[in-house]
């Protein structure tokens, strides 16, 4: 059975190789090759899962050693895999959601000339992401980590003819590099501390290292997680990443890759457990991000950017839970999985709406679409109910547990974290209701509205010229849109994900299934919130109703203006992503420019001065010494005589001393 693990990665990797090297002759079948291989990987995952269920919970981890990668003295790096319950969860999520999104993309990318290449990149992403979660050491994980970064870069910039997409790809790549540096430093610290970077030995040896070292490693891992998972302060790239095709946003920037940071923290649980300071910083990062993302999500009129803010916020919940330690790990992963379902579903729904609306992304030009695209409406609506935590749906179970765990942290910290999480839940309900109302309810604001007009200062002109727009709606592209339901190849994945959004949470929670499943890997401690679990649940539901109600007052009862009003100070700030880019520009870009300029100045004057001065000095010395060589044998003889005299005198002197 262990030998099947490599097959999980090999299938999509083969797909990527075939599709990217195969050339145009595969254009006609490329998308099927990609989809079949993704599905094959999913099937292998299910087989392994079934096998794992048949085993004793404590002995479910499987290992596969492939080959010794870098054997250099004491530095041993292997290509070896570890499949335990945590990895298994990710494998099923990645291959399952991944396969669905492959299917969806067949329809969504139907008219794109470069569809084969798109599927090649998607397969490449699957392979890298699976490598990330299956590696049995941090160095190999790093390979997967960089691999998903590359795939993300390629897919964000897939429509590279758009300058905004190319810039967004570059931005994502650069911001991620900052996090990657953190991961590489963490790995180096592990090697110097433990002499290895394989999960088993490192995590077993945490007791031997000082807390200071572990805190340093933990903070570096957290930096890496912030980069990949778009957490404050490295959050700025995710909104722009929405330039990528919508299936990419669904798979990579909502369901899987952006959760890699949470995986990293939970995988390194033993390090964080032994470094309370690093845990505290983790919870703070999570809490700040969940508010940050939620506030940004409230102000965005671009449907994908609103969802991106939501993603940031939901991952903030997961990071917060992961920072809470053993009382939170399981819930972090559980929320990750349920979020994978409903957020992927929401993004696919958004893609479906755009598909029917000439690629318009501005929600102010939607409205009343529920009758035109009923399947999209229902699936999107179920995802909406799941994310706001409507009782009985997936998000309710997972988010409520995180809020409980945050309160259960105890002390002032517990109250603050719990309060923030609760506030986040209210805002979540507000902004998701806003999205829902602006898109599917209210008057049909798209009537007599030529789409794709750059009315909004903060909304990118809807320039997402994917193939569907280019051919299906050539006539309509400049005029009034004709909303319609998407083809079945797109709606079926949405339906499947909606089912997951509805039932996954309940399925996991009944009998604490998910806790028992993950406990052997992450450990689990029951948290007891000071006000009682029932009170927490009640408050969660109450704030959710409050959020929905507020949104209804603002967007349901009153008509939504087509042109965005100026808005309050907070709204304007949120539209500009709370000035994150401005901050980065002033502090990092300007600061960096000043730093490089002063370094260049120092280099020119001081370093070059010393170097050139030395060279000139040597040249001068050489010219002077050269004159001693005057060509007269008698001078040479004198030199030899003098040399001999010094030699003899020095030898005698040595003895005298």
């Amino acid at each position: 059975m262990e030998n099947l693990i490599a097959l999980l990665i090999a299938a999509p990797l083969l797909g990527a190789a075939v599709l990217l090297c195969g050339g145009r002759r595969l254009d006609a079948v490329g998308h099927w090759i990609g989809t079949v291989l993704a599905a094959a990987s999913f099937v292998v995952g299910v087989v392994l899962f079934a096998d794992m269920l048949g085993k004793d919970p404590e002995n479910r981890a499987m290992h596969q050693f492939l080959f010794s990668w870098i054997p250099v003295g004491g530095f041993q790096a292997d290509v070896a895999f570890q499949l335990d319950q945590l990895s298994m969860t990710f494998v099923l999520l990645i291959t399952g959601v991944g396969s669905l999104i492959h299917v969806y993309s067949i329809g969504y990318m139907e008219h794109d000339e470069r569809r084969r290449r798109f599927f090649g990149y998607l397969n490449l992403f699957l392979a890298a992401m699976l490598l990330l979660v299956l590696a049995d050491n941090y160095l190999l994980l790093y390979v997967g980590w960089e691999g998903v970064g590359l795939a993300s870069y390629l897919l964000i910039g897939f429509w590279q003819h758009k300058p905004s997409a190319a810039t967004a790809a570059k931005k994502a790549f650069l911001v991620n590099r900052v996090g990657d540096v953190g991961l590489s430093i963490a790995i180096m610290l592990m090697f110097t501390t433990f002499g290895t970077f394989a999960f088993g030995p490192v995590l077993e040896a945490t007791g031997e290292a000082t807390e200071g070292k572990l805190t340093a490693i933990g903070l570096m891992l957290l930096l890496a997680a912030c980069g990949k998972s778009a957490q404050v302060p490295l959050q700025s790239w995710l909104g722009d990443a929405m330039e990528g095709p919508t299936p990419v946003s669904a798979l990579i920037h909502a369901a899987t890759m952006v959760t890699a940071g949470v995986y990293l923290i939970v995988r390194s649980a033993d390090i964080f457990n032994a470094a309370p300071d690093a845990q505290l910083v983790t919870t703070v990062v999570g809490a700040v991000t969940l508010l940050f993302g939620a506030i940004v999500g409230c102000a965005k009129d671009d449907i994908k950017k609103a969802l991106a803010g939501s993603t940031m916020s939901q991952i903030g919940y997961m990071v917060l839970a992961a920072g809470l330690g053993p009382i939170g790990y399981v819930f972090a992963i559980m929320h990750l999985v349920t979020h994978g379902f409903f957020k992927a579903g929401l993004f696919l729904g958004a893609g479906s709406v755009m598909h029917g609306m000439n690629d318009e992304v501005d929600m102010r030009k939607y409205g009343g679409l529920r009758t035109y695209m009923p399947i999209t409406f229902i699936t999107f609506g179920l995802g909406y109910l799941a994310i706001i935590g409507f009782p009985g749906l997936s998000g309710f179970f997972s988010k409520d547990k995180i809020i409980e765990a945050a309160f259960a942290k105890g002390g002032t910290e517990g109250w603050i974290l719990g309060g923030v999480a609760l506030l986040g839940a209210a805002i979540t309900a507000f902004y998701m209701t806003r999205v829902m109302l602006m898109t599917f309810f209210g008057e049909e604001r798209w009537r007599n509205q030529p789409t794709a007009s750059p009315a909004e200062p903060d909304v990118e002109p809807a320039a997402e010229h994917h193939g569907a727009a280019a051919s299906d709606h050539v006539a309509a592209a400049t005029g009034e849109p004709h909303p319609h339901e998407s083809p079945r190849v797109m709606t079926i994945p949405m339906i499947v994900l909606a089912v997951g959004s509805v039932f996954a949470g309940g399925f996991f929670s009944i009998g604490d299934r998910f806790i028992h499943w993950l406990e052997p890997v992450t450990g689990h401690a029951h948290g007891h919130p000071p006000i009682g679990a029932a009170a927490v649940t009640a408050s969660t539901v109450a704030v959710m109703v409050l959020g929905v109600g507020l949104a209804w007052l603002q967007y349901g009862r009153r008509p939504v203006p087509v042109v965005a009003p100026r808005g309050s100070l907070l709204t304007r700030a949120a539209r500009r992503d709370l000035y994150q880019d401005d901050f980065n520009h002033v502090v990092l870009v300007r600061g960096g420019e000043h730093l490089t300029r002063s370094l260049v100045y120092v280099d020119h004057t001081l370093v070059d001065g010393v170097v050139n001065g030395t060279a000139a000095g040597m040249g001068g010395l050489s010219g002077r010494l050269r004159r001693i060589q005057n060509g007269y044998a008698r001078s040479y003889a004198v030199s030899m005589f003098g040399g001999a005299a010094i030699l003899i005198a020095a030898t005698l002197l040595m003895r005298a001393v």
């Binding site: 040597m618 040249g619 050489s622 010494l625 040479y636 003889a637 030899m640 020095a650």
Partner: protein, 549 residues
């Protein structure tokens, strides 16, 4: 006193001698030297008896065969264990046959073979009066520019004596690092020096410069030899013997027996120190260490280039071999006295060679100063006074000699109307005109500079490592700084060849015969092999690194 009384004094003072015991000579173990010297004597006979037309071929054939046979003999001895288990002292204590001796003899013989190839090159100069000519004067004895010179050129004379002279020089060099007493050392010194003085004088072009170089070399060489000889006398006065082993034991104090004739001087440390310093000075002259280096640029520049290449390689090998044996076998008990002095010599040699080379404008002078800097690097290995020091020096010498011969062989190819175009300005843009030749020369320059993947790096790394482990870390720092300075002028030549515009009236690159091509090709091959896979040869040098005492 009457005549008869004087006579009786003579006869009574010495017992009548019945017979002189025949010395034991181990001909087999001495065979490399004997073959070469024998071939040299044969070469003189060839000059006397073989018709002028055939002499060149006879001499080249004889030289190559003799050197190859001698090399085979060295290999045979090494394979027979004479480098390790069976090493010993032969010829009544005069010559040592051990690892360092055989390793260096092998190196000298290979350098000699490549030297013969470059000596025998006859395709570079345009034919004079229908006769192919080599790098040597038609008739060395004729006055430059005189009628007799013109007549000799017209008659198609060639100086084929250079081949036996080379063989004599090689013969002396073979004994030099193996000499096990001071008199043998001195005789070997003269045996290889005198032929070299002559060889320097016989250039075909720029004859006055060549003769000037030879005279300078001879005068200064004789001066240095005088120091050496006087030092030998002082050491004899100190130890009562010229044998290395005996001197070493007297230095250690393990020999208490005092020869009655020398009772007044024996064990006098002043004699020992002054004598040792003077002998060492003679050897430092031969390796070209500062401040005894001043002959080097003038002689390297004036001598015929094939002679320069051979001399630069083989002399350095032989002289460093002798220096190693002297310091490691005779004077190890004195190392606290000589090490600081040699430190100073090594430092000024490395820095002096590298710094003065920066402003050179003639490629042969540049290589001369480069050889001075390299002498300093090798001295760093000598100073280590560890077995690793010996083996690293052996390896360095082997690597360096091939680079040197190859580099000077390339110099012979770049020519204009006046013969070799040695001024650096004429090398501008050579890489555009003759990429292959320029690339080969670049390889040699990179090896001189000690860039990885060339033998120069492996050698330099070995000596610096040995020096650092032998407690001479300061030397290594200076060595690395000097290497950095030296890299400047090596790279400058590469930049000049590849990144400058060729001059319109620039030199042409002559197409050599297979002889020079072989010399250059072997040089490049050895440089790269020792650079890429040095371990086998480092092991070889380390097995050969033990002196017999």
């Amino acid at each position: 006193m009457s005549a008869s009384a004087v006579h009786s004094l003579w006869t009574t003072a010495a017992e009548p001698i019945d017979k002189i015991g025949a010395p034991d000579i181990e001909y087999g173990q001495l065979s490399p030297t004997l073959i070469v010297i024998g071939a040299a004597v044969l070469g003189v006979l060839v000059e006397a008896f073989v018709p002028r037309k055939s002499r060149y071929y006879a001499q080249v054939f004889l030289s190559v065969v003799a050197l190859a046979a001698a090399f085979a003999a060295v290999i045979g001895l090494a394979a027979g264990g004479y480098a390790t288990t069976k090493s010993g002292i032969v010829a009544m204590g005069a010559v040592a046959v051990d690892g360092p001796a055989l390793f260096l003899q092998g190196t000298i013989l290979l350098a000699g073979i490549l030297g013969v190839f470059t000596f025998a090159e006859r395709r570079l100069d345009p034919a004079a009066h229908g006769n192919r000519v080599d790098s040597f004067a038609a008739q060395a004895a004729s006055v430059p520019g005189s009628d007799s010179e013109k007549a000799a050129v017209k008659a198609g004379f060639t100086t084929t004596e250079v081949f036996p002279l080379l063989l004599f020089a090689v013969g002396g060099m073979l004994i030099f690092p193996a000499a096990n007493d001071l008199l043998t050392l001195f005789i070997a010194l003269e045996v290889f020096s005198l032929p070299l003085y002559l060889l320097c004088a016989v250039a075909r072009r720029k004859r006055l410069m060549s003769q000037e170089a030879a005279v300078k070399y001879f005068l200064l060489g004789a001066f240095a030899s005088a120091f050496t000889l006087f030092g030998i006398a002082l050491l004899y006065g100190y130890a009562g013997s010229v044998k290395y082993g005996t001197i070493a034991r007297v230095v250690d104090g393990t020999v208490g027996e005092v020869s009655p004739a020398l009772a007044g001087t024996m064990g006098n440390d002043a004699l020992l120190l002054i004598g040792a310093a003077m002998v060492v000075m003679g050897l430092l002259f031969k390796v070209g260490a500062v401040p005894f280096h001043m002959w080097t640029p003038d002689v390297y520049q004036g001598a015929p280039t094939p002679v320069t290449g051979f001399m630069a390689a083989a002399t350095k090998v032989a002289a460093f071999g002798a220096l190693l044996r002297l310091l490691y076998v005779v004077l190890p008990g004195l190392r606290w006295d000589w090490r600081p002095v040699m430190w100073a010599v090594a430092i000024v040699t490395m820095l002096g060679g590298a710094i003065v080379a920066i402003t050179q404008t003639d490629i042969k002078r540049l290589l001369a100063y480069s050889s001075i800097a390299h002498a300093g690097f090798i001295l760093a290995g000598v100073i280590a006074t560890t077995p690793d020091g010996v083996s690293s020096v052996l390896f360095y010498l082997g690597a360096y000699s091939f680079v040197t011969i190859g580099a000077f062989a390339v110099v012979t190819l770049v020519r204009d109307a006046g013969g070799e175009a040695t001024h650096l300005s004429k090398w501008a843009g050579l890489g555009r005109r003759s990429p292959l030749v320029a690339a080969v020369f670049a390889v040699f320059l990179l090896a001189f500079a000690g860039i990885p993947l060339t033998s120069g790096f492996a050698g330099k790394f070995a000596v610096f490592k040995a020096a650092a482990e032998g407690g001479a870390g300061g030397i290594v720092v200076v060595g690395v700084i000097s290497s950095a300075i030296a890299a400047f002028f090596y790279i400058r030549v590469i930049v000049l060849m590849f990144f400058s515009e060729p001059r319109p009236e620039g030199p042409t690159v002559a197409v050599p015969s297979p002889l020079t091509m072989t010399a250059i090709g072997v040089g490049v091959a050895v440089t790269l092999v020792l650079g890429v896979a040095p371990q086998y040869f480092l092991d070889l040098a380390s097995q050969a690194g033990v002196f017999v005492r």
